[in-house]
Point group: C2
Chain length 289, copies 2
DNA sequence: AGGAAATTTCCATTTTTCGGAAGAGTCTTT
DNA sequence: AAAGACTCTTCCGAAAAATGGAAATTTCCT
């Protein structure tokens, strides 16, 4: 009945300004203020960690007075801090958000004891990560005691990201993506050579993912960095989806790839399976019967 | 003439109003929308990582339609994700903000090689942290290879927080705080017993801080947890302010506190001094001359 | 010191937001 | 399986909150 829906033009034509900061969600049901305020946070990058009002206003195309109002709000809330030079940088409070996000799935909480146990038994560094777009995000990590492991330490910790295509965890996680999402991820990927065996063609990568899905685990043979091996196994949730990957990495001077797969692979898979079980996954689910 | 400047006291109100927490800082120059939107992010805690529109609306006292508009904005920007059950949780994108904040001071970047070197030379875990309110925030960490270190591993990583009063780094950082800030921190502190020697009276803590400032470094003798020792040294910036603390921690079964102080203390101080130098600090500053 | 540039405040205009109510789904109960 | 109860989502007029130009203030550079 209220089919007419009025011809109220709302704000559809915001003018010729096509590129508004980040996305163009110019729909009335979105909050412009929130969008702008968060865009300000996004202006602070490792390369440009300290910004003044004018810098932000110019980058976002907003007036200085408007920018200023958002900035002091962010300061009051602890998301920004004002340094000596009257400029601003990110406040330490935002780290809490990051930690909350890492823990939000409950994944870390459930997995940690198992990762720790695997590390104890094998003396190799054990990692847990999830897929976010075309990158993997480290959620947890149990580091080896062994000397020599530092050779393969890339300064990774929970919160770190790595491209998915050149890591065993990334390949594993991509392999279990629904077709549509996998396509999307593929389209936004750049396959840069990072190690001797990096897969640099999308065709080869697609074949590799098929093999990974078949095998049930993934191997990284110097695709990320020279002399670095790793193997990964999948963690599934109650809905039988692969939600994370567990991984063990080692320098080639410590163990051959074959030995890593043969001797430690079973332990890794066992650990991954037990985490899956913890998340409610059942191997032979006859719930429908 | 505008001496009066209204009765609004600029920003002097940082003091008495401890927390408008979720209510509103009802000054016209703040952005209410941004405030509300960010309050939504703050609703997601490790204890309650998954929330529906109604949960958020109730907690913040906002209408559901308003809440919904903010939430879909946050989803569009990647700060929230919608799970299967129509509920929402923090998006992985916010981890980037957290990492940016940790790196924003440039502290980690400058310090990391020195921490790594100290770990190599001593085989003990080395940490770097800053003070945020009454807590310390771990910025970087170089973990020991040694077995047995796991006994003292409290699951800490960059982004983790610990109360300042029962850690060597916290005591060191508080000791060098300007008087006014130190008072504020003291007022918001709860001194709970965490280890055999935890300092539980503010008077005793104040005296301890005086000694720490005198000595130039801080010691933790089972104040955080049983059988856990640590020592800390200060890192200063160009303006001669103490901006961070470097620390080494060990289980008492591995080394006595005396030995830790005598044998490793000098190395720790040396490392801290070199980081300070990297940040532009000069011991004998005659710049005024 | 003096001038340029940036930050911060002010204010009338109007756009964006607010929230009740209605429309869709979804899950629970009978 | 159908009705009921609940939550999520959309719509819309009313109204509050945001906007940006200009002025006042502070800081920085020469």
């Amino acid at each position: 009945m209220p089919r007419t829906s009025a011809n109220n033009s709302k704000n559809s034509d915001y003018g010729q300004e096509p590129a508004w900061s980040i996305p163009s969600l110019r729909e009335p049901r979105y909050s412009q203020s929130l969008e702008r305020g968060l865009a300000i946070l996004g202006c602070f990058t490792p390369e440009r960690p300290v910004l003044g009002i004018a810098d932000i206003a110019d980058e976002l195309g907003m007036s200085r007075s408007t920018t200023h109002r958002y900035v002091i709000t962010l300061v009051a809330l602890g998301y920004l801090e004002q340094g000596a030079s009257r400029k601003y940088r990110l406040g330490l409070r935002v780290t809490d958000l990051g930690m909350s996000a890492l823990n939000s799935t409950g994944l870390r909480e459930h997995s940690h004891p198992y990762l720790e146990e695997l590390r104890q038994r094998t003396s190799y560094t054990v990692n847990l990560s999830v897929l976010d777009g075309s990158e993997i995000l480290y959620v947890d990590r149990a580091r080896s005691f062994r000397r020599g492991q530092s050779k393969i330490d890339l300064g990774l910790h929970p919160g770190s990201r790595l491209p998915a295509y050149c890591t065993s965890m990334g390949k594993l996680l991509m392999a279990h993506l629904p077709e549509s999402e996998q396509r999307e991820v593929f389209s936004e990927m750049k396959l840069t050579k990072r190690g001797p065996n990096t897969i640099t063609s999308k065709k080869a990568l697609r074949e590799e993912l098929d093999e990974v899905r078949e095998a049930g685990f993934a191997v990284n043979d110097e695709e990320l960095a020279p002399e670095l091996h790793s193997i990964s196994a999948p963690v599934r949730n109650e809905a039988r989806e692969v939600v994370a990957a567990v991984n063990m990495a080692a320098h080639s001077s410590m163990i051959s790839l074959e030995e890593l797969v043969d001797a430690l692979g079973p332990h890794l898979v066992s650990t991954a399976d037990r985490i899956s079980a913890r998340l409610g996954y059942r191997r032979n689910d006859e719930s429908k019967a």
